[in-house]
């Protein structure tokens, strides 16, 4: 079948396909960070966790031949870094934002260091669901090729939403995040809850990283992440700590990132660097518009350092 020139429709399709692809790591990291922040901790080290997850996921996937084993390994590596973050932050008088930056540096460096032998080989690839089989256009088929992790995230978001609102664990988490005193009065160990929440957040961030190396772009090298981990922290605020909103905002960010290359392919090449700035400018605008000195950000856990 002849590939007809799609022109502007092609751009839209490319943006949709790109949004799904690029949003997946954002989705996982933001869901993870939501859990962590709901417990009252900020983890800025997720960028390092993401890169570490990408490296370990690829390494284990390559060595074992199974991409899913790689995903699990990536999650475990991520929760390891989360444990480190929590352990240091649990010490009195330690600023969690600073620790996050330290872990960013450490995690990224560690991943680069250990990942050297894995740059050359080809790794296994995660499966995907072909939803576009009905279309005659290869581009539509490619855009609707939804990867497995996106589907996991799609299910995970409402599950976490429901879990936070309707289960006992969710209540405990939210109490620790909203009022440390109330949690203590109820007999919960704040350190324990925050440690577990940070580890869970790290696990999800690691999984998000494994997506980059096991699916798209699908290999391990040094330039893999372009700040997605740090962006996710902004994303969580944007999404008001609501897992469902995290899903939609991740798609939005993914679409913004996919717009630049999509326009280039129809010949619009001016200002391609400005497109790079689009997600960040968007976040800043939304943050400015929706924040206020008078009210706390709606939905923000009160114990978060960035709100105090």
């Amino acid at each position: 079948m002849n590939e007809l020139e799609l022109g502007w429709w092609g751009v839209l399709i490319a943006v949709i396909g790109g949004a799904i692809r690029i949003s997946t790591p954002y989705l996982f990291v933001s869901l993870g960070e939501t859990l962590t922040e709901k417990s009252g901790r900020v983890n800025l080290g997720l960028e390092g966790t993401l890169v570490m997850g990408a490296m370990s996921g690829f390494a284990v996937g390559y060595l074992s031949g199974s991409p899913w084993l790689g995903v699990i390994a990536a999650g475990l590596a991520g929760s390891g870094l989360g444990l480190l973050h929590a352990a240091v932050c649990n010490l009195p008088r330690v600023n969690d934002i600073a620790v996050g930056i330290a872990l960013f540096l450490f995690g990224t460096g560690l991943a680069m260091f250990l990942g050297k032998p894995f740059i050359a080989p080809r790794g296994p690839r995660l499966p995907s669901l072909e939803l576009g089989g009905w279309s005659a256009y290869p581009s539509v088929r490619a855009a609707l090729e939804i990867n497995a992790l996106f589907i996991v995230g799609l299910i995970l978001a409402p599950v976490l939403y429901w879990g936070l609102r309707h289960t006992r664990w969710g209540l405990v988490l939210r109490t620790v995040g909203d009022s440390a005193d109330a949690a203590r009065a109820l007999g919960y160990s704040i350190e324990r809850v925050r440690t577990l929440a940070t580890m869970a957040g790290g696990f999800l961030a690691g999984v998000g990283g494994s997506f980059l190396s096991l699916y798209y772009p699908g290999n391990w090298n040094e330039g893999l992440s372009s700040g997605q981990g740090l962006m996710a922290v902004a994303l969580v605020i944007f999404a008001r700590w609501n897992p469902l909103s995290c899903f939609w905002v991740s798609l939005l960010f993914g679409a913004a990132a996919a717009l630049g290359p999509a326009l280039q392919s129809v010949g619009i090449a001016q200002g391609y660097y400005l497109f790079n700035a689009a997600p960040y400018v968007l976040t800043l605008i939304i943050l400015t518009w929706s924040s206020s000195t008078r009210h706390r950000l709606i939905g923000a856990p009160s114990e978060l350092t960035i709100n105090k």
């Binding site: 010490l91 008088r93 620790v99 540096l105 450490f106 260091f113 001016q270 400005l274 709100n307």
Partner: protein
């Protein structure tokens, strides 16, 4: 007996040094696990950082901008703001420096240099002040906003040097117009290090004096300790916060201008090499004390300077020094918990 202040200094130094030692030991274990002799690595670290005159010069050249970018985190931190936007402020400072230099084409050399440096500092100050304003008037967290502003500054740089201010005669890589040659500054006497080092050291000393020995500095410290208390004491908290942001941003902007005036002569992607993020590490290591920033910047600069030698001698990846710096950062932050555990004995 020593005064409480002297004890605090000794305590700070002891804990910081202790943390670095712990980090080196942990790092040594990590190296050993990778099959390399840690003692050999320590020796090469020293050789590459301080072992020869050449190494020392390399270390100081790296330390110079780091001192200034560290101030960008340290000064607002004293006002209670956690700013990580030095990278963006440096880039914006560099861009402003180029624009000022090109516009001031016919000016006499010294005046031109001063104008260029001033432009960089003002631009950097304005950049971080913008984040400060967002915090004061819209409650936007300054850590997040300065982080975003970093990326925005870099995108602006790339866009401008690819077209609007590009020197198309430079075919090697996208570079901006160059500032006039008479405005450039050279190296210090006897040391093959540019004058930026002097600017860095002087800025740290001056700001230490300002923050520790003037009313303004004291007011900022009160603000940083407790916002409510500062307001109750009648301090103009908004103005103090903005001032801290402007000073910090100006330091980083100055670093960017120095990169233009002393090193490159024009703006290009060479402005984005991580000096901003290195500055954050140094500020925390120095416990936000401008005077302590000087030796800490030299230490961190030394580690970075020996990275190349580590690569060449042991075939270690370039990230080897980043792992060490990360270790140090973590141990120093963890070490924070030990402050105040020891009290000076009362005579």
């Amino acid at each position: 007996m020593l005064s409480a202040g002297a004890w605090r200094t000794i305590e700070a130094a002891a804990i910081s040094i202790g943390a670095i030692v712990v980090a080196l030991v942990v790092y040594g274990a990590f190296i050993a696990l990778n099959g390399i002799d840690p003692v050999a690595v320590y020796r090469v670290l020293y050789l590459g950082a301080f072992g020869t005159l050449f190494s020392l010069e390399a270390t100081l050249t790296l330390a110079a901008p780091l001192m200034l970018t560290a101030l960008c985190t340290a000064i607002p931190a004293r006002a209670g703001l956690l700013v990580i936007g030095a990278e963006g402020a440096l880039v914006v400072g560099g861009l402003a420096a180029v624009l000022a230099g090109v516009s001031a084409g016919g000016a006499p050399p010294y005046l031109g240099t001063v104008l260029v440096l001033l432009a960089g500092a003002l631009a950097g100050g304005a950049w971080i002040a913008f984040a400060g304003a967002l915090r004061l008037w819209r409650g936007v967290n300054e850590t997040i906003s300065t982080l975003l502003l970093n990326y925005i500054a870099i995108a602006m740089l790339n866009h401008l040097i690819s077209g609007p201010i590009r020197d198309f005669g430079e075919t090697l890589k996208a570079t901006s117009w160059s500032i006039p040659a008479p405005f450039r500054i050279g190296t210090l006497p006897y040391l093959n290090v540019h004058w930026g080092l002097a600017f860095g050291i002087v800025s740290c000393v001056v700001l230490w004096f300002v923050m520790r020995r003037t009313t303004f500095g004291f007011a900022v410290a009160v603000l940083g300790g407790n916002v409510r208390a500062a307001q109750l004491a009648g301090l103009a908290t908004a103005r103090l916060s903005m001032a801290a942001c402007i000073i910090g941003g100006a330091a980083a902007g100055l670093a960017g201008a120095i990169e233009i005036v002393a090193v490159h002569g024009a703006a290009s992607e060479s402005l984005v090499v991580g000096f901003g993020y290195g500055g954050i590490l140094i500020a925390f290591l120095a416990r936000q004390n401008p005077l302590a920033i000087i030796p800490v910047a030299i230490l961190v600069g030394g580690i970075s300077a020996s990275g190349g030698l580590l690569q060449r001698r042991f075939d270690m990846p370039g990230a080897a020094t980043a792992v060490l710096q990360g270790c140090i950062f973590i141990t120093v932050l963890a070490g924070n918990t030990f402050y105040g555990r020891w009290r000076p004995s009362r005579a």
